[in-house]
C-alpha cells in the first residue's frame, strides 16, 4: 500500500457542517477518519444526513464549515483532483438508457479520461465483473433494475478509483441482486479499494463493513466495528415467542420488569410475536422467566438467546428502531417507511430528496 500521502487516509473530515439554504442543518459537526483500504459503513435512517455527507465528500455539495480531505485533496480547493480519484454511485440508478451497456461504460471511460489503449480491456473486465457481458450491446432501457444498478456500479469503477462512494447501493433490489452486488463490492475491496457505503440496512452494514459510524440527526452517535457496537448493547438478548395476543405480551413484559428475575437493569421490549429481554445474564436467568411466564398462565411457543444485532444497537443508542427491513421488502413500497423512520431525524435534514 502506498503511504506517500501525508495522512494515509482516504477520507478525513473535521467538524463537517452542511446547512442548506433553507436553514436545514443536515450535517452537524461530523468528523470521520477512514484509512485506505477500509470498508467503511455510514449507517442511519432516512433523513439522518447520510446522503448530504456523501455528496459533500464527492464534491457535489460544498461544506458550510469544517474541513474535508478526500484522498489527500481538499474538496473545496481541489475538487477536480478529488473527482479524478473517486468513484461515486448515487442512490438513484443513473445510466444512460438510450445507450448500450458497453456505450455507457465507454462514456464513463471518456468522462474519466481512461487512456484509450486501456479502454477496451477495462470495459470487458467490468462487464465480466458485473455479469453483463452477454447483454453488453443491448440498450440499458431494457435492463431490469438490478442490471441497471450493476451497470451503474461498473460505471463508477472504470478509472480504478482508489476510493468508491456507494450511496444506499442496494435499495430497491431483490435479495439475489443485492447479494451479487455485495460480492462485487467485496471483490473490489479485496483488491485494495476503499469503500464508503451508506445504508439503512443493518444486515448490509454488518455483513460488509469493517467499521461503522451511526449517524442520526446530522450527528455521529456511535462508531466502531459491527462487533464493537453490538458489545455496547451490554449483554445478550432473550427472545421469547408467546402464543397469546398483545395483553399477554404486556403482562410478560411486566413480569420481567417487576419480578426482579434479571439482575441489574434489564431492558424489555415488546415485539411482534412476544418479548425481547436484553441483559448481561439473559442466558443464565432465561429459564426462570419461562417458569414465571408459565405460572402466570402465559403460553411460551419458543425462545432463543442470541447476541445483539445492529438493530438492538440502534435501539440502545437512539431509543428508536430501524426496521431491519431487507431490500426485497423495501422494494414493495419504498416510501411507506419514510414517515416512521424519518420522524426522529427529520430535524436532521432533507437530504434524501
Amino acid at each position: 500500500m502506498t503511504e506517500s500521502d501525508a495522512t494515509g487516509r482516504a477520507i478525513e473530515t473535521d467538524d463537517l457542517r452542511v446547512t442548506y439554504s433553507d436553514g436545514t442543518e443536515a450535517v452537524r459537526g461530523v468528523s470521520l477518519s477512514v484509512p485506505r483500504g477500509e470498508f467503511f459503513g455510514f449507517l442511519g435512517p432516512n433523513g439522518a444526513g447520510k446522503t448530504t455527507t456523501i455528496k459533500t465528500l464527492a464534491t457535489l455539495l460544498r461544506p458550510t464549515s469544517g474541513s474535508v480531505r478526500v484522498n489527500g485533496f481538499d474538496v473545496e480547493s481541489e475538487p477536480g483532483k478529488v473527482r479524478e480519484s473517486i468513484g461515486y454511485m448515487a442512490q438513484e440508478t443513473s445510466v444512460i438508457t438510450e445507450m448500450t451497456a458497453r456505450e455507457n461504460l465507454r462514456f464513463a471511460c471518456d468522462a474519466y479520461g481512461v487512456p484509450r489503449g486501456e479502454r477496451s480491456d477495462r470495459i470487458a473486465e467490468l462487464l465480466d465483473l458485473v455479469d453483463l457481458a452477454d447483454v453488453a450491446d443491448k440498450r440499458a432501457e431494457g435492463f431490469s433494475g438490478g442490471m441497471q444498478k450493476r451497470l451503474d456500479a461498473a460505471m463508477a469503477l472504470v478509472h480504478r478509483p482508489p476510493l468508491v462512494f456507494l450511496d444506499e447501493p442496494t435499495t430497491g433490489l431483490d435479495p439475489k441482486a443485492r447479494n451479487r452486488l455485495w460480492e462485487y463490492f467485496e471483490a473490489i475491496n479485496d483488491d485494495g479499494t476503499t469503500i464508503f457505503l451508506t445504508t439503512q440496512y443493518l444486515e448490509e452494514a454488518d455483513y460488509l463493513c469493517d467499521r461503522l459510524s451511526v449517524i442520526l440527526g446530522g450527528e455521529i452517535v456511535a462508531e466502531g466495528s459491527p462487533a464493537d457496537l453490538k458489545r455496547e448493547v451490554g449483554g445478550e438478548v432473550l427472545d421469547v415467542a408467546l402464543e397469546d395476543g398483545s395483553s399477554a405480551r404486556e403482562r410478560a413484559a411486566d413480569i420481567v420488569r417487576e419480578d426482579g428475575l434479571f439482575p441489574g437493569d434489564p431492558t424489555v421490549e415488546i415485539t411482534d410475536g412476544g418479548i425481547s429481554v436484553t441483559s448481561r445474564d439473559a442466558r443464565q436467568h432465561g429459564p426462570d422467566l419461562l417458569v414465571a411466564l408459565r405460572d402466570a398462565g402465559i403460553t411460551v411457543t419458543g425462545f432463543n438467546v442470541r447476541s445483539p444485532t445492529l438493530d438492538d444497537v440502534f435501539l440502545a443508542i437512539t431509543g428508536e428502531h430501524i426496521d431491519e427491513e431487507l431490500p426485497d421488502e423495501a422494494v414493495a413500497d419504498g416510501t411507506t417507511t419514510e414517515g416512521d423512520r424519518g420522524t426522529p431525524a427529520t430535524d436532521g435534514g432533507n437530504d434524501e430528496q
Binding site: 464527492a58 455539495l61 458550510t64 445507450m99 485494495g192
Partner: protein
C-alpha cells in the same frame, strides 16, 4: 491490495492521460447525438410540425396572404407566400429544437445522469457545450431539409446557395437565446412538464405576433407594438432578408446601411445581444445549480 493501490498516491491521482477540454466536448456531443438518433420519434416530430405549418399555411392562407404581400409597400413586388414563409419556418425549427434542450437536461436531472456527470472530472462548460453543439447540428440539418422542401414547393432563395447557408446561420444564431432560456427554465423548475409548457406557451403565440406569417403592417396596431419587442421578428426578418435579398424589416425603419443590410445589421444586432444576455443568465443558473443550494 495489489495493482489498484499502486496508482493511488495523492499526487498522481488516477491517470487521466488523454482528456482535454475538446475531448470532453466531443464526449458529450456524441452522447447527445446518439440520444437523438435513438429517439427518432422526437427528431421526426420536431421536424414534422414546421413542415405541416409550411404545407398548411401555404395552402390555406396562400391566396389571402399573397394579396396582403402585394399590398405591402416594404415587400412590394411579386413575392410568393412560399418564399415569404420558408424563412419563418426555419426560425420555427430553431425554436422547437432549442426548446427541447431544457427537456433533455431535466431528463438528465431526473435520472441522476446529470449528477453523475458533475461528479466526473469533465469540464462543466464542456458538458453543456457538447450538448448544445449536438442540438445546433440538429437545427442545421432540419433547416436544410425545410429549405429544400420549400424550394420544391416553389419558394425561391434569391441569394442562392450562399444565402441558404446564411439562413442556416441565422437559425443557429437565433436558436441560442431560446436554448439558453429553455435550460434556465429546466434548471429552475427541474420538472419536465413545466419546461415543455414554458417553451410551448412562449413559442406559438410569439410566432403569431411576429413578422413570421404575415407582414406586420397588415396587422392591428397593438400587434405591431408586440412584434417590435418580439425576438422572433428579428430572427425571421434576418432570414427573410437573405431569402428575398432585400430590406424586409418593418418594425424599424433603418436606412443607414443600404439594401439588405438595413435589415441584417439591426436584426442580427438584436439577436447577438439576446444571445449574450440569455447566455450569461444560463451560465449563472448553471453555475448556481451545479454548486448546489448549501449556505
Amino acid at each position: 491490495m495489489g495493482e489498484t493501490m499502486s496508482s493511488e498516491t495523492a499526487d498522481s491521482g488516477v491517470a487521466r492521460a488523454s482528456n482535454t477540454f475538446l475531448n470532453d466536448v466531443w464526449t458529450n456531443f456524441m452522447r447527445w447525438n446518439i440520444n437523438a438518433i435513438r429517439n427518432p420519434f422526437v427528431v421526426v416530430s420536431s421536424l414534422l410540425q414546421p413542415i405541416i405549418f409550411l404545407f398548411l399555411f401555404t395552402q390555406v392562407f396562400g391566396n389571402v396572404a399573397t394579396g396582403a404581400l402585394s399590398a405591402n409597400q416594404t415587400l412590394a413586388g411579386s413575392l410568393s407566400y412560399e418564399t415569404y414563409l420558408v424563412p419563418a419556418i426555419a426560425v420555427q425549427i430553431a425554436l422547437i429544437v432549442a426548446s427541447s434542450s431544457g427537456i433533455g437536461l431535466v431528463d438528465d436531472i431526473e435520472s441522476g445522469v446529470f449528477q453523475k456527470t458533475l461528479v466526473t472530472p469533465m469540464s462543466r462548460t464542456a458538458v453543456f457545450l457538447g450538448k448544445t453543439l449536438s442540438e445546433l447540428i440538429r437545427i442545421v440539418i432540419q433547416v436544410v431539409i425545410v429549405l429544400g422542401l420549400g424550394v420544391l414547393l416553389g419558394a425561391e432563395i434569391k441569394s442562392g446557395v450562399g444565402g441558404a447557408l446564411a439562413i442556416v446561420g441565422v437559425a443557429v444564431l437565433f436558436s441560442l437565446w431560446f436554448l439558453a432560456f429553455s435550460n434556465i427554465v429546466a434548471l429552475l423548475t427541474r420538472d419536465q412538464e413545466s419546461t415543455i409548457i414554458a417553451a410551448n406557451m412562449i413559442q406559438l403565440p410569439l410566432l403569431f405576433v411576429s413578422s413570421a406569417f404575415l407582414p406586420v403592417n397588415s396587422m392591428p396596431e397593438w400587434i405591431q407594438v408586440v412584434a417590435t419587442y418580439n425576438p422572433i421578428t428579428y430572427g425571421v426578418d434576418a432570414a427573410r432578408a437573405i431569402m428575398v435579398d432585400a430590406d424586409v424589416m418593418e418594425v424599424w425603419n433603418v436606412t443607414a446601411f443600404g439594401g439588405i443590410w438595413n435589415t441584417l445589421v439591426p436584426a442580427l444586432g438584436v439577436l447577438v445581444v439576446l444571445d449574450l444576455v440569455f447566455g450569461v443568465l444560463a451560465v449563472y443558473t448553471i453555475t448556481r445549480a451545479t454548486s448546489a443550494d448549501v449556505q
